[in-house]
């Protein structure tokens, strides 16, 4: 596959395509930061008043507004924030007076751990389950499993989460901690018991989509011409499934995993509230309620950059896994492909 004759002396087309996408990604992040800045200013009431609470005299509110620079024109406020953010200073939280970066990155790390746990659980399960169901298509196991998956999908996530708490952590059935209050003094790996319930709860919500995606892709691939040709040549079924079909079925799954990741980054909020897990979701939610502008800006920036990164990596993997795209000699050939790696503005809306 990697013989030297395929390689041309100039850089491969996918690399310049990748650099172009990276640029677009960063542009997206910048536009979003601007939109969010304007949106937070459009929220009713001002941060100074929210922070100081109901008893604050007008004079204190005005003083704080001035100290926070909230009385300045919005463009000036934005440029000041952007300049500091570019130099690595995310500011001080209006709510707690503590540096935004320290709080944010600790919380983001927790969210990443949670997401990593979910992916580690969901991806192998969905792959194994999806392939198994595709091979037993329309049989009893397939039908029952599909119903179960649709049931899981239809059940609201918080219900699943509360159900898990009632099952595993109430008195007399005390297997797992009811709430995931992490001890910041210990490494996350030493308190994995706190991750179990949130990971399972989120996985149950994420599993149906991925499983059905893998199943559908496998069924499609199993019916394709090259599989029929392979069967006619008498290649063993096991080899057809694992060696020839699965790698092709993986490409849609990669986009599916990317979508799940994007949803999870913001969607862990649910598990965070129910399990009191200190992730980025509750942080952002609280920051919006408190009109904590530096915190909102920084959180949104981090989430946006992660989403951009996830998209990029998923697209890159797709390109590298698809021989036709990997060996394309012109960027436009990659851009015009049908593998669903167009930038978001060219994509047709797809329901998860």
């Amino acid at each position: 596959m990697h013989d030297a004759s395929c390689r041309t002396p100039r850089t491969p087309a996918w690399l310049s395509w990748f650099i172009g996408r990276l640029g677009y990604g960063l542009l997206t992040a910048w536009v979003i930061s601007l939109v969010v800045f304007i949106a937070t200013q459009a929220l009713p009431s001002d941060p100074a008043r929210v922070i100081l609470g109901p008893d604050a005299p007008l004079q204190s509110v005005l003083t704080l507004q001035q100290q926070l620079g909230l009385d300045r024109p919005i463009i000036e406020q934005y440029l000041r924030w952007l300049g500091r953010a570019l130099s690595g200073d995310l500011g001080i939280s209006l709510d707690s007076n503590a540096p935004v970066a320290a709080i944010l990155f600790a919380r983001f790390g927790n969210t990443l751990a949670l997401v990593a746990g979910v992916i580690a659980l969901v991806v192998p399960t969905a792959l194994a389950f999806g392939v198994a169901l595709a091979l037993r298509r329309d049989r009893r196991l397939d039908r029952w499993s599909l119903s179960l998956l649709i049931f899981l999908k239809a059940t609201p996530g918080f219900l699943l989460a509360i159900g898990l708490v009632l099952l595993f952590s109430m008195p007399h059935m005390d297997l797992l901690p009811a709430v995931s209050i992490l001890d910041p003094e210990r490494s996350l790996f030493r308190q994995l018991q706190f991750l179990v319930l949130p990971v399972v709860a989120l996985s149950l919500s994420a599993l149906p989509y991925l499983t059905r995606l893998v199943r559908a892709a496998m069924i499609e691939a199993l019916e394709s011409d090259y599989v029929i040709a392979a069967r006619l040549r008498g290649i063993p079924e096991r080899r057809i499934v694992w060696r020839h079909t699965l790698p092709n079925a993986l490409v849609p799954a990669i986009q599916g995993v990317a979508l799940t990741l994007r949803i999870l980054l913001g969607g862990t909020l649910l598990a965070e509230v129910i399990f009191s897990y200190p992730g980025i979701g509750t942080l952002l939610n609280a920051a919006i309620q408190m009109r904590d502008l530096p915190m909102i800006q920084a959180s949104v920036l981090v989430i946006t950059l992660s989403v951009v990164l996830i998209n990029l990596l998923a697209d890159l993997l797709t390109v590298l896994l698809t021989p036709k795209l990997r060996t394309a000699w012109r960027v436009t050939l990659i851009q015009r492909n049908r593998r669903g790696i167009q930038p978001w503005w060219r994509r047709s809306p797809k329901a998860p």
């Binding site: 929210v50 100081l52 708490v165 007399h172 709430v179 509230v273 200190p278």
Partner: protein, 523 residues
């Protein structure tokens, strides 16, 4: 891990007490009888030293800070661990000396002399002197700090603060006025901090616990302060304050033994927590009031008859039963019933629909329509109940909800009808929150010449008997023509594991914040 271990040991002991080899459901009942035996152990009033006391708090979405003088969100509760003041609250909402060994006003309360106990120390070893006392008061009242609580101590004259000797200062007030309730207003946010204090980089005070770590929105950890001014206190080695976003998950954490104390639980959870044999529910009959502000600056409440009609049509018992889930007592449109100056001679206003209707008819307001503006949350229930009651008297009340920041925004004194509440304080301090001439926010826009005169005289009257006469008359005025419809005093509910001692219900709102008194039977 250690918590699970100790829980297991605890359950094991319970089983041993329960006596045994039982199966199935009888095993569970064995647990329960063991637990009640555990109660007997925990009830013993000898405090146990050591252990880590874990307290779960909820403060909405606000993470809050550590600032002694500008606490926001959970910062108020954390302040109880970090900082000490000249005074501290008694369980009956009066004050007693804490860091101070002497604190008295002069004859007309125009000057206060405060002397602290000798040999006091801050967390970082610096001894407390007059300079720190002055620094703390100057910082609290500094306009640049923009503390939300400056309004309460707005009377203090920053330029007239004087150091009398190394442990003594004198406080005077703007324009030479008198200000008797200094203790009640300075006590809450007047934490004494050293001159090198910084709320972020050096958050030290003289409170029972010193800070170890603070992660906003998550938790703060403290260790015992050995040189706390109360000898032998606090009891636990470590204190941990954990922040929750959700009442349900905190209740689950308490039941699962992941926290020891849940501070301020919802009435809705009381039955569940009460039913758990390993927990105890503490009901503090506080004198914090809940009621409505009738805006006297606007029609129709300019008419005294309409105000009286509103006060008569309120079925207070029903408001307490449904608005507070029964956790409260009815009120007589007056605040601070615990204050020794409270006028108990004023008869309780009855629920009288007939008289309410006739007063409205006299005022020409038979088909009155008014809007009640409230914030989403606990206050909505009471507002809806009140709207139903008003309907019976022919008054249509439209309850509209606005965001908290809008409610407290520039319009805050111009809502026609809005809920009002004030934590338990004495009469003079409560008035500063409500309808006093120098009130921070006078949502009812009550301005009465005679009341103002009486209030000012009371501010200058340290003598209890003479002040009583003044307050009695002031309260009669409030009861006759004031703008507050105070229908109830709400209970404050706390829940704790039976292993927690030193938690005693009181008339204040902060029984579970007295971290120097709480201890944990951690053995």
């Amino acid at each position: 891990m250690s918590q699970e271990f100790s829980r297991r040991v605890f359950l094991g002991n319970s089983l041993a007490v329960g006596g045994g080899l039982l199966l199935g459901s009888s095993l569970l009942s064995g647990c329960d009888s063991g637990a009640s035996a555990g109660v007997a152990g925990a009830v013993s009033t000898t405090p146990v030293r050591g252990g880590r006391l874990r307290v779960g708090i909820i403060d909405g979405d606000q993470a809050g800070n550590l600032d002694a003088h500008k606490p926001v969100g959970g910062g108020i509760i954390r302040g109880w661990a970090l900082y000490s003041k000249f005074w501290e609250w008694n369980p009956d909402v009066s004050t007693r000396l804490a860091l101070a060994e002497f604190a008295e006003p002069n004859a007309d309360a125009s000057a206060w002399t405060i002397r602290i106990k000798p040999g006091l120390e801050f967390h970082h070893g610096k001894s407390i002197g007059a300079d720190d006392m002055l620094f703390s008061i100057l910082r609290l009242t500094d306009p640049k700090l923009a503390s939300p609580y400056t309004g309460l101590v707005g009377a203090i004259d920053r330029t007239a603060l004087r150091k009398l000797d190394e442990r003594t200062i004198e406080i005077r007030f703007k324009e030479g006025q008198s200000f008797f309730p200094l203790d009640e207003t300075l006590i809450s946010f007047g934490g004494i901090v050293p001159t090198d204090y910084d709320p972020v980089s050096n958050p030290v005070g003289a409170g029972p616990y010193r800070l170890k770590s603070f992660i906003p929105g998550q938790r703060s950890l403290y260790s015992r302060f050995e040189n706390y001014y109360k000898p032998g206190q606090p009891y636990a080695d470590e204190l941990e304050i954990l922040e929750f976003k959700d009442q349900v998950s905190r209740a689950a954490a308490l039941r699962a033994g992941q926290i020891d104390v849940a501070s301020g639980v919802q009435a809705e959870h009381s039955a569940l927590l009460k039913a758990d044999a390993r927990l105890r529910l503490y009901v503090s009959p506080s004198t914090s009031f809940t009621g409505f502000n009738l805006n006297l600056a606007k029609e129709p409440f300019q008419d005294l008859r309409v105000r009286q009609a509103f006060r008569l049509l309120a079925d207070r018992q029903e408001l307490v039963d449904r608005g507070l889930n029964g956790f409260g007592r009815i009120a007589n449109d007056l605040y601070s019933p615990q204050d020794p100056t409270y006028n108990h001679a004023i008869a309780q206003r009855p629920h009288d629909l007939e008289q309410a209707r006739s007063l409205l008819r006299q005022a020409g307001q038979q088909d009155l329509r008014v809007e009640l503006t409230t914030t989403p949350g606990a206050g909505v229930n009471a507002a809806l109940v009140f709207a139903q009651q008003a309907k019976k008297a022919g008054v249509e009340i439209k309850v509209s909800q606005v965001d908290g920041s809008v409610f407290n925004g520039p319009q805050r004194e111009s809502w026609l009808l809005s809920p009002g509440s004030t934590p338990a304080r004495g009469f003079l301090a409560s008035a500063l929150h409500n309808d006093a001439p120098q009130a921070i926010y006078n949502r009812s826009n009550f301005h009465d010449e005679r009341f103002t005169a009486l209030y000012q005289q009371a501010l200058a009257q340290p003598d209890l008997e003479q002040r009583k006469v003044l307050v009695h008359e002031a309260q009669r005025i409030q009861h006759e023509r004031g703008g507050l419809l105070i229908w109830g005093f709400n209970d404050v509910l706390d829940a704790a594991s039976i292993r927690v001692g030193g938690l005693v219900p009181e008339q204040t709102t902060f029984a579970s914040w007295r971290f120097d008194d709480l201890w944990l039977n951690h053995a």
